[in-house]
Amino acid sequence: MTDHTDVVIVGAGPVGLFAIFELGLLNIKCHVIDNLDKPGGQCAELYPEKPIFDIPSRTSITGQELTDNLMRQVKPFHPVFHLNQQVEKVEKLNDSEWVISTNQGKIIQAKCIVIAAGAGSFVPRKPPLEGIENFDGKTVLYSVKDKSIFKNKTVLIAGGGDSALDWTNELSKIAKVNLIHRRKEFRAAPDSVSKMLELEKNDILSFFTGQLKGISAGSNKSLKVQYQDNENLHYIEVDYLLPFYGLKMELGPIVNWGLNLHENKIYVDTEKFETSVSSIFAIGDINTYPGKLKLILSGFHEAALMAQVCFKYCFPDKKNVFRYTTVSKDLHKKLGFK
């Protein structure tokens, strides 16, 4: 089923979220797509606990607080979020409409597209092992969708964070689990660490220190994984390998959308923040122009100017009367402000 809206925002980081607000003030409706499982982008994923000191009027605010506040700020505008998915294709439907499709099969029709994708979308960090792509999605998995496939199987989990430890503990109930990490210290919840150490003590799981070095088809089981501990090489045969090395950012399919790029940034003008393709805009860290500063506050400014131009595409016959939020009766009504 195809959804219809005015604007699709690609990226739910702080700038994408504030764009909902600026567009909402002009009665423009938005759908927002993000590859993470939550809004906030880098602020929520990379540094939720780290303080930011250059948000105007906030002497200090953490990445997560900023995200939470923005979510409250945009709530009156009823944005529709499509999380855990990446925009794959953007096609022109007619003179005034785009069709946007995601890798989860979501299809949205919109008049404008606003790319607020930061440094790209977050994707799993894959170990750089020769030939690993032959096993990706089959016996090498970066997330667990259906844990029943591991029942009575031998699994190698790699990594030392929360995902690695949580799945080690969980899958130990149904599978023979081996955990490999470069040191016997973990950056995971203390509870999960002690649980894992307990399982190891009781010989329910095996722990190895080392780094993954190679992967090939096994003779007894589907995979033969090579790992290195100090200078020594070892092998282990397993049915599945689950690498959990966190996420990295990748521009992804945006490079194929026919936009004018400069060193993986999207070139925009500083009047409208429009790309080389009309009615596609780019704001925040993803864009570039002379004098560009990658700051959240620059992205907020860019969102406000972009929204003025989006209005013309969304409502070509209407006149946009500029009004401050202090006097806009329409906004006060939406916010329930009397």
Binding site: Q42, L46, R183, R187, Q211, K248, M249
Partner: protein
């Protein structure tokens, strides 16, 4: 003039002028060399992974827990692996030799 010596992934060696107070990541990035430094230096991404020449490695301040945790997400680790954003350049590091780790 103080400097650092950086070997890129093709094996080419460059001398970069280095100002005290900048991090090695910033010096390398601002010289236009290929270092991703995705998070901008807040120790949240492990994309400024360097190998520090063994003679220099011991002269560095010890790793904080934050850096050690981020290295957990890096690949091709060696005993002399460090994150460039966590090493602040000072007089004592004039001439330090580092190598960019594979991406």
């Amino acid at each position: 003039m103080t400097k650092i010596i950086v070997k890129d992934r093709e094996g080419n060696v460059q001398e970069l002028s280095a100002d005290i107070g900048l991090t090695l990541m910033e010096i390398i990035r601002d010289a236009g060399m290929d270092i991703e430094a995705a998070c901008g230096g807040c120790c949240a991404c492990a994309t400024c992974h360097l190998y520090v020449d063994k003679d220099w490695f011991s002269k560095l301040s010890v790793k904080e827990d934050d850096e050690e945790s981020m290295l957990d997400q890096a690949f091709n680790l060696k005993v002399n692996s460090r994150l460039g954003c966590q090493i602040e350049f000072n007089d004592g590091l004039d001439g330090i030799k580092v190598e960019l780790a594979p991406e």
